[in-house]
Symmetry: C2
Subunit: 408 residues, 2 copies
């Protein structure tokens, strides 16, 4: 049955949006799987996403050795290059001319919800033109905010980086006390910021406060929270999402900063600047009298740091890529491959084909059950959810610290 | 001979200054060694350096299990807590009263050059008071700027973090092109910033430009350098030391920022703020017309990230701590333990006792042979020097990228 539906032709794969530590696992998962199927002739990689298609800037992935493929799989950031271009209707027409010219019948596009939307548009154009195309979106995003997915490839490794950073930084703050703010990526979804909570082992470990874009940020409340923790522990470690906004939805960084750079999708630039951390640190200094207040912005390190990968994340990213090709070969015309968690006490997932439109455009947020009532930390339900995705963390030790009796 | 000079009494150890990823290796190295010697009775750890001595806030390190000691050795950041307090003459008198009261005859203080100075002052006071004290400084600093040392414990792991960060970030910048600035710790010495160069494998890999505090920073030259790289590669990754200063010695961050926080040693705060990166990014945007310009400040992550340790660094840090105790037991009264590199093609070091004063106060800088003629990168001599200290880095792969012939 399935064989009848299989069409012969070339395959084209591309990567889009922000890189992740495991986005090449998905790429190589798809390429390795494709090499098993005779229906797929040439395997082309477009450089820098749809830009590479428009420019006919393609590379021949069948010319890469297995050794290279394996090495690239373990390498962070998009090996084919990425792009943040949203195709216009004219672009879509041009893309088809290229796909047709190169007899591309299998198209795979790795990326987030914007990429799913692009894939959907290309697929619709193919249908209109009655061009036979297998058109699949392969999910990725460190933000973990794609609909249909229990979680997304890239989140586990970025979350592991955030957790390891907080483990070390909290110990640093224990050694030299004060207030420490760390700003984490996440415009609308707080999953990655919340991952900081996995750094905690002891009751007094940081992060002591976590602020997510899912809850309106009020400066007064923030200062009150910081004061309370500082009074109790003599220090305070804080995780803040770059996207925190006030009750009217205005990002805190925009209120305090002059930068108004906007990307191709209409988003204001939040990353690649230390402004939010500096604004919050200044506010604490001004309002609390605490003198040692520091802020770091994790920035791009969290999405492509070499040597910090969740094994679960790497395995799943590969699986999602391979599944997309399997689905396309088994006769399915289009879709996005989503990660679904199986019910039960033991962590297990399956990869399911879902409609392209169901992943495109809109994103999902942290559910209420993952955020505490005060809106300044996560719940145990979040920890249970995130732990298996992020995987093993380094072991750290602490002295029993038996006090020596003071000599009078 | 040596046994005759050995005095019986208690040991006290403390940590000072900025934490490192391996500072506890030195602590545990000293404690493990001390446990072998009958002359050393109790082993006390002072919490938060000399502050803990002054407050008689001591813990009993003989009450810690070997399992805990080993776990703490592998844990980043000062397990005893740290301090940035410079003792006054009155403090020194008070410190002796405590040492005498607790019959402390072996004193070890782990830290950088400020700590060596403090140890030296304490030692001089001991001599004046004719109080029998074995007084040793155990070196550490991620800045790698202690005199007498080929390199210092903490640098290797921090350098490894910086190199891994640049490996990933350069791949990120290849995927989404633009200019990327990364600001690295280092007030006067550029070793840690220079470590970014170890990320390079291919000729076109970043960092493409490296700016160190050892060379005056001129904005015009900087802009010219960035333009040239951007013209050649369509992108540019830059490593900048937080301490870069103009030809008159004024830090660039001070010229552009309002923050003037000064620490106990009279230093202006450079870390814990994203200001320098933002200043440089804005300048590039204004002067080059390049639109995608981003800046990250690595901040505190580079000195205490959990799970990024150079094995060489960990081993040597342990060795320096153990050597200090051995030297004190073998009859030597005082000193600092320095790492000396043995001549020869194969990397090997030895730990040597040097005078406390020879390490105190002043620091050393990158030698001229490590900096290129243009003052915007490092030389092969630096790479050869730093490679064995930083150790193994993750393997990354790249496609051969055989172009598909364009169809006319």
């Amino acid at each position: 049955m399935a064989a009848k539906k299989t069409i012969e032709g070339n395959m084209l794969i591309a990567q889009s949006g922000g890189p992740t530590a495991v986005i090449n696992q998905s790429l190589i998962g798809a390429v390795m799987e494709a090499k098993k199927h005779a229906a797929i002739k040439n395997i082309y990689g477009a450089l820098h996403g749809i830009q590479g298609i428009l420019d006919e800037n393609l590379i021949d992935l069948k010319k890469e050795s297995d050794r290279t493929l394996n090495a690239v799989a373990g390498t962070p950031s998009s090996a084919l290059g990425s792009v943040r271009r949203k195709p216009t209707p004219a672009d879509c027409t041009a893309i088809f001319q290229v796909l047709e010219k190169y007899n591309v019948r299998y198209f795979f596009y790795i990326g987030g919800n914007d990429t799913a939307e692009t894939t959907h548009i290309i697929n619709e154009e193919a249908k209109k033109s009655k061009y036979q195309l297998r058109c699949f979106h392969i999910c990725k995003t460190i933000d973990n905010d794609l609909r249909q997915n229990d979680h997304t490839p890239g989140f586990g490794s970025a979350g592991k980086f955030v957790a390891q950073a907080f483990m070390g930084d909290d110990l640093d703050n224990r050694a030299l006390r004060g207030v420490k703010i760390n700003v984490i990526m996440g415009r609308h979804a707080g999953f990655l910021t919340a991952a900081a909570a996995l750094a905690r082992k002891n009751e007094d470990d940081g992060p002591h406060l976590i602020y997510l874009p899912e809850r309106p940020f009020a400066m007064g409340r923030f200062i009150k929270d910081v004061k309370a923790v500082y009074k109790r522990l003599g220090r305070c470690v804080i995780a803040v999402s770059e996207g925190i906004s006030d009750s009217r939805g205005t990002p805190i960084v925009v209120k305090g900063a002059s930068s108004k750079e906007v990307d191709a999708h209409g988003n204001v630039q939040l990353s690649g600047t230390g402004a939010l951390g500096d604004i919050l640190a200044q506010e604490i200094k001004d309002k609390t009298g605490i003198t040692r207040v520091r802020a770091d912005t994790f920035g791009y390190l969290q999405r492509s740091f070499a040597g910090c990968v969740s094994e679960t994340d790497a395995r799943e990213a590969f699986g999602v890529g391979a599944t997309a090709v399997k689905e396309s070969i088994s006769g399915n015309k289009d879709g996005s491959i989503a990660i679904k968690r199986k019910p039960g006490a033991t962590y297990a997932v399956e990869f399911k084909r879902v409609p392209l439109r169901s992943v495109a455009r809109e994103t999902q947020h942290m559910p209420d059950k993952f955020i505490n009532a005060e809106g300044n930390h996560v719940t145990q339900a979040f920890i249970d959810y995130a732990k298996p995705i992020i995987g093993k963390l380094p072991k750290v030790g602490r002295f029993r610290a038996v006090q020596v009796k003071k000599i009078k």
